[in-house]
């Protein structure tokens, strides 16, 4: 059992959990905490865990005599415990009982739930969160039981995590204290593997557990020196994570454990800086579905109706020579020759020429994406580029106009001229109208998220919550991106006019805009496989620099190239989803799972900057795709409220601030005091379940009645006779 960036995100641990648990259950007869009995216990007890943890800890640390200063600074979090407590609070007895019912009925879960951890692989997984997931997922367990027993599952001590295939222990430190900002310090054992950090404290019942995939770590700092640390818990390490939380562990100086832990953490959290491979290359889980096949560029273009008389498919970039950050396969106007393409590439920043993203099935209006033209201070022009834009416009017979949406604020667009870039002049491009969408650059977004983290983690200043939130401008930026995408969708749908989208390089804001507009226009992208295609196509193949923006395995946490551009896109998707609860085949669990594995480095999907780099590193053959996990477990992400008829609808979300809300289920998930509401789709699932149950009971009664009648009638007749 293990999970991605925090156990409570069901998505992550779910499927993987399930696998390991099924393996476990088949390998050992004692095993697996996937029954309802143990799970309900886990949820309720987590609340009390904090106090016992605190008292125990203070006792033992005073005994150790490693007295040192300010141990009170609350850092770090016990995510899974909190989350478990949340959910148990939220759903109260009702949903958990339902889940257990589900578990019993459909899974017929393998072994009886033994809450006490036996010494086998399964033992370490019977922890609070895990059980929580188990019971939530019990219903899918049966489907995976066909998996083979893995050889060489070694027996672990109870304080070690269950390892995923390819994972191995790197080091363990005992008597480490985790300083939870919400429930106080807890003493336990800290383990480091080549994939994750695992902390377990037996002080609480059930044991407190914390797991963090090392890919999530952005920075590790030592707190307190050998001679300077005074007071309890002041000597240790602090871990800053990319998923809006910081963890702090206190070590005992005399144990000399800090050094080992820090070294191992640095090594495996930042493999790129240490010339080590990403864990994705060692992870060797088998999934029934192969996510690498979900996106086939030609098939997707065919789905859109290409090639047709106005658009052709070209492999001109097959060797990534014309444009190294673009995919191998492009769709371009049929009227443009290969020579034209080369000439246009010379006039567009980094050779990123306008290429088709989406075509309207009826009006043939298109969304094309590119980078800024190389206009420069002198106002250079390119006849070929102008003709090419004209070709794009001509490919759509419905309109004699074309919009060029420049995602940047106009000031920035002008400023880019000094660096050789700029924007299309309306004089040079006939029938084109340039509009600026006023979305700020990656640095502004990074700063905004930093502020948001300050506001959300670890504690919320209730008195100024709304104004603090507003001051981060995070929702402001979300609004800008959404309304920009809305404008594009509107031009294409309502005005039947083609739109060319670009920013500076065409891989950040452009990807946000085209992907969101496509999500609004085309219901296919709102299905689970369609969403995978959308991300594979608009983000991965068109070269959003995931490696740079996320900084996978890289220890330069202050790198200016990092920015939450993709997170912002996912947030926008979630905003649309909240306004249209029936229009998406998946729930926000899918989005959270995607975000967790954006950082986790468990899957190869988000590694590297471009399709070309991924080809070179043979990512498709050497790693597992995130979509394998998701497509193999669709029921974990399916939205029961989804109405397939909405596939033919165009969504126009409202974009005023009053209709946006902070995605607290993601940003505030570590905080136990933020209780997200029980989503309606869960209620709905419960309703369907109750319905099924009642119908079965009615059937039973009917049969009983019928049986009694047939049984009774002969007696009655005989009496008459």
């Amino acid at each position: 059992m293990f999970s991605g960036g925090g156990i409570e995100k069901r998505g992550i641990s779910k499927a993987v959990n399930k696998r390991s648990s099924s393996r476990r259950s088949s390998s050992s007869s004692t095993g697996s905490g996937s029954t309802s009995g143990s799970s309900s216990g886990s949820g309720s007890s987590s609340g009390s865990s904090s106090e016992s943890g605190r008292s125990n800890n203070s006792g033992s640390s005073s005994g150790s005599g490693s007295g040192s200063g300010s141990g009170s600074t609350p850092l770090g979090s016990p995510p899974h415990v909190q989350m478990a407590s949340h959910e148990s609070l939220n759903s109260e007895s009702k949903s958990s009982s339902l889940n257990s019912k589900l578990g019993h009925e459909s899974a017929g879960s393998p072994s009886a739930g033994s809450p006490s951890p036996p010494k086998s692989v399964c033992s370490s997984s019977s922890t609070s969160t895990d059980q929580h997931h188990h019971h939530q997922l019990a219903h899918v367990l049966s489907s995976t039981s066909k998996l083979t027993v893995r050889e060489g599952t070694r027996t672990l001590r109870p304080d070690e995590p269950t390892l995923v295939p390819g994972e191995h222990m790197e080091g363990t430190a005992r008597e480490v204290t985790y300083l939870c900002p919400y429930t106080g310090p807890k003493k336990g054992t800290l383990s480091v593997t080549n994939y994750r950090l695992y902390f377990r404290s037996p002080e609480t019942d059930p044991p407190f557990e914390l797991e963090v995939p090392l890919g999530v770590v952005s920075r590790i700092e030592k707190v307190g020196g050998a001679n300077t640390s005074r007071g309890e818990n002041s000597y240790g390490i602090e871990i800053f994570c990319k998923d809006i939380r910081n963890l702090r562990f206190a070590h005992k100086q005399e144990n000399h454990s800090r050094r080992m832990v820090t070294e191992k953490l640095l090594q495996y959290a930042f493999p790129a800086s240490h010339k080590l491979p990403f864990f994705a290359f060692e992870y060797c889980e088998q999934y029934p579905e192969n996510g690498w096949t979900v996106y086939e560029p030609i098939a997707e273009l065919k789905r859109q109706g290409l090639p047709n008389e106005s658009w052709r498919i070209t492999r001109i970039n097959e060797d990534y020579e014309l444009c190294e950050t673009y995919p191998a396969v492009w769709a371009v106007p049929a009227a443009a020759s290969d020579t034209d393409l080369r000439n246009v590439a010379a006039f567009r920043s980094r050779g990123r020429i306008p290429v088709l993203s989406w075509i309207h099935p009826e009006s043939q209006a298109t969304i094309t994406r590119c980078a800024q033209p190389l206009v420069g201070v002198s106002g250079k022009r390119s006849r070929d580029d102008e003709a090419y834009i004209q070709h794009i416009m001509d490919a759509n017979a419905q309109s004699h106009k074309i919009f060029i949406m420049d995602a940047r604020p106009s000031v920035n667009a002008v400023a880019n001229k000094a660096r050789g870039g700029g924007y299309e002049s309306e004089d040079a491009y006939q029938n084109a109208e340039v509009q600026f969408l006023d979305i700020h650059n990656i640095h502004v977004m990074r700063e905004s998220l930093r502020k948001l983290q300050e506001v959300c983690y670890p504690h919320i200043d209730n008195a100024h919550w709304l104004s603090n939130l507003e001051a981060t401008h995070w929702l402001d930026h979300i609004r800008c991106v959404l309304s920009g995408a809305l404008r594009i969708a509107d031009k294409v749908e309502s005005h039947k006019t083609s739109v060319v989208v670009h920013c500076s390089d065409g891989w950040d804001r452009t990807a946000q805009l085209t992907a969101l507009a496509m999500l609004m226009l085309d219901g296919y992208y709102r299905t689970i496989p369609g969403f995978a295609v959308l991300i594979e196509k608009e983000w991965l193949s068109f070269g959003h620099k995931f490696a740079q923006r996320i900084g996978h395995g890289d220890d330069r946490h202050q790198d200016e190239d990092r920015s939450p551009v993709f997170l912002q896109f996912v947030d926008c998707v979630c905003q649309v989803m909240k306004q249209f609860p029936h229009a998406f085949q998946f729930t926000e669990d899918l989005l959270i799972t995607v975000l967790d594995h954006l950082y986790s480095c468990l899957f190869g999907t988000f590694l590297y900057n471009s399709e070309r780099e991924r080809m070179e590193k043979e990512v498709k053959t050497k790693t597992v795709s995130l979509w394998s996990l998701i497509l193999s477990n669709p029921s974990d992400f399916e939205n029961p409220l989804y109405n397939p008829a909405t596939r033919h609808h165009v969504l126009f979300p409202l974009t005023s601030m009053r209709h946006l809300c902070l995605w607290d289920k993601y940003y505030c998930r570590w905080n136990p005091s933020m209780r997200p509401q029980e989503p309606v789709h869960i209620r709905f699932k419960e309703l369907l379940h109750v319905k099924g149950q009642l119908e079965r009971r009615v059937d039973e009664l009917r049969r009983e009645l019928a049986a009694r009648q047939t049984h009774d009638s002969p007696r009655v007749t005989s009496a008459i006779v």
Binding site: Q435, D490, H649, F652, M674, R675, L687
Partner: protein, 699 residues
Amino acid sequence: MHSYRRSTRPSSFKTYVDIVEFEERPVDVPEEVDNGKVEPNLLPGEIKIAEANNVLKFAPLKTNKTGISGTLFVTNFKVSFVTSLPVDSKEAELHERSLQSHYLGVHDVCLSEVDLVYQISEGSTKKKRLLYNAPLPARVSGLQLVLKNLRVINFSFKFTPAGEDVRIGQALLHHAFPPSIDHLFLSCGHPSPFTGIPEFCLAQDWEKELQRTRCPNWRVSKHNEFFNLCSSLPTVVVVPRDLLDAQLEQAAQHFQGTRPPVWCWGALGGAALVRMAQISPNISDKISVTKSMGTLQRRKLEEESQQQENRMMGLVHRCHPKKLQPTIIDLDQKLPSLKDLQISYIKLRELHTPDDPTQFWEQDRHYFSRWESSRWLSYVSKCLEVAQNAASAIAHHNSSVILQESEGRDMSAVISSLVQLLLDPQVRTLRGFHSLIQKEWVTLGHSFCLRLGHTRNQPEEQSPVWLLFLDCVHQLSLQHHAALEFTSEYLLALWHASHCSLHSSFMFNSVNAKYSATAVLQRENPQQPVYLRPVWSWWAEDHDWLGGEQNGSSESVKGRRSAARDLFLNVHYIQNLMESLAVSGALGRLRDPVSSAHHTWHRIQYLLGDSGPLPYDPNAPVGPLQIDASLRVDVALSSLKPWHECFSGWISEPSVTINEIDSLSRQSTTTVQHWEHVRQIYYTIKSHLSETLTNGVAE
């Protein structure tokens, strides 16, 4: 936000229009088809006062470039706009979720709903507030009405024949802001049906409540029979058993508004919930003393008042069977003043009634911080916190709680009601909630008329205490969405209903004021009986008596009503009831009249409308109170949400003009799906029951 189906695009479809390139579109002017005279629909007793033809009606955020043309009337009940043009879908939908849709047409506004009237002119952004006595210029080019439900309507008289504009303006100002409550249109000329909700004006109502709660040592006093003791309390009040009527009378003099402490709820353990006024700082109006009274005398009086207060608290103390000290909560100290509350509301009103798209977007940029600076949510949070503390004193410490407030008619109603919602499962049902409002708000004398500004008198006394309470309940339902039998949509409907003069529940300052108004009406028109109609009647009425002319056929009225019912009743609550039937054996016991399954089934039948119009059995006895302290509210500000449906419900985002209906129905479709399945379950069980019945008979 809206979605639509691409292939089946209706022809009447308006396209989304970007603010940047909003084109000036011609005003929709209907062809002159109405040869005959246009007339408003009138209720029995309603009379037309003024009329203006060729009036254009605008929703301000659609930018005043589009409007619909029609005839505007002012009657003694409403402002009625009559047009042959199709209705805006959002307006229609919001209209259908009101409790007065059978009295008022989509374009109609009850006079008492009007909050502010502005004079506006075309091309100018300036507007001028018109008070009830404002002189009107020779020509009025337009009027803007800001309603108490935060809806804004603009009328333009550009094409109106001269003279009609001024006449209609004068009629509106005069009748929308009457000098006294009896000038409003209060009686609909039809008796209201039986709803089973006690009025708490009879001794037996209070006795039943005492019996239900099993709270010992309190008695019903009829000493206020002629409102001689206190004009704002009902004729019967519940007081400590050991308090003699004479003592009660003596004590009352020393409290503000001469309101002695009264019991309003209690528990078996002996903990009682008591509402008490502050002692009177100036009792000169009761005892004939003048300002020339010496300090010594005054101090003596103060001491006396203090003694009376202590005596009363002592009596409450002695009522407790275990003689536990009561908890006294001074609401004046802990909660915002009525003035603060009104200031907060005015800020929110400004934020939610923008004049044009520019202002809308300007406000939108700082929407969250403006919400915060209004302090509204912090007031909601404080109320919930105080209520939660009081509830925990009762539930966990079995301690009586005395809510003390200046006159004990405002915040004490909020807190007392919330405490009961938190502890009493019966109050969370629709029937219980109606009884609660009737008891705590209507009968114990919340000054609805004054606080909601139904008349033009004492505008400085206006304060949305009632809305504050509804918002608190709304937050409660957000955090526990299966706990209440009714939805937030119903709370909102109640808020809107409290501005409509035909709902007598929310029109008066006290029971006494209601009696006086009735008497005045009866005197003025002795032939016609006066029927005041409590808001609860909506649930029991079939609305057929209106003749179906008001808004379409009786079929469509019925359809709308059942749609509204589905919106007002909480499907999650019903789901929980059904879940309780899913336990093993429960279905087999449905016919066993003493089983809880039978009882639950009975309730479900009513809730699904299968046993008459009311969603509950009005004749069923209410079971004894069993305190349930499980409802905890998270009062942290970050956990409270602005009530958008209430404050921005009428605003349509300016940049979007397509099919607003989708945006409204988006959430309700979630519940529609839910309802569908709940109904399917219901019919499955029902058919099973009838089968066993026939089989049983056959046997």
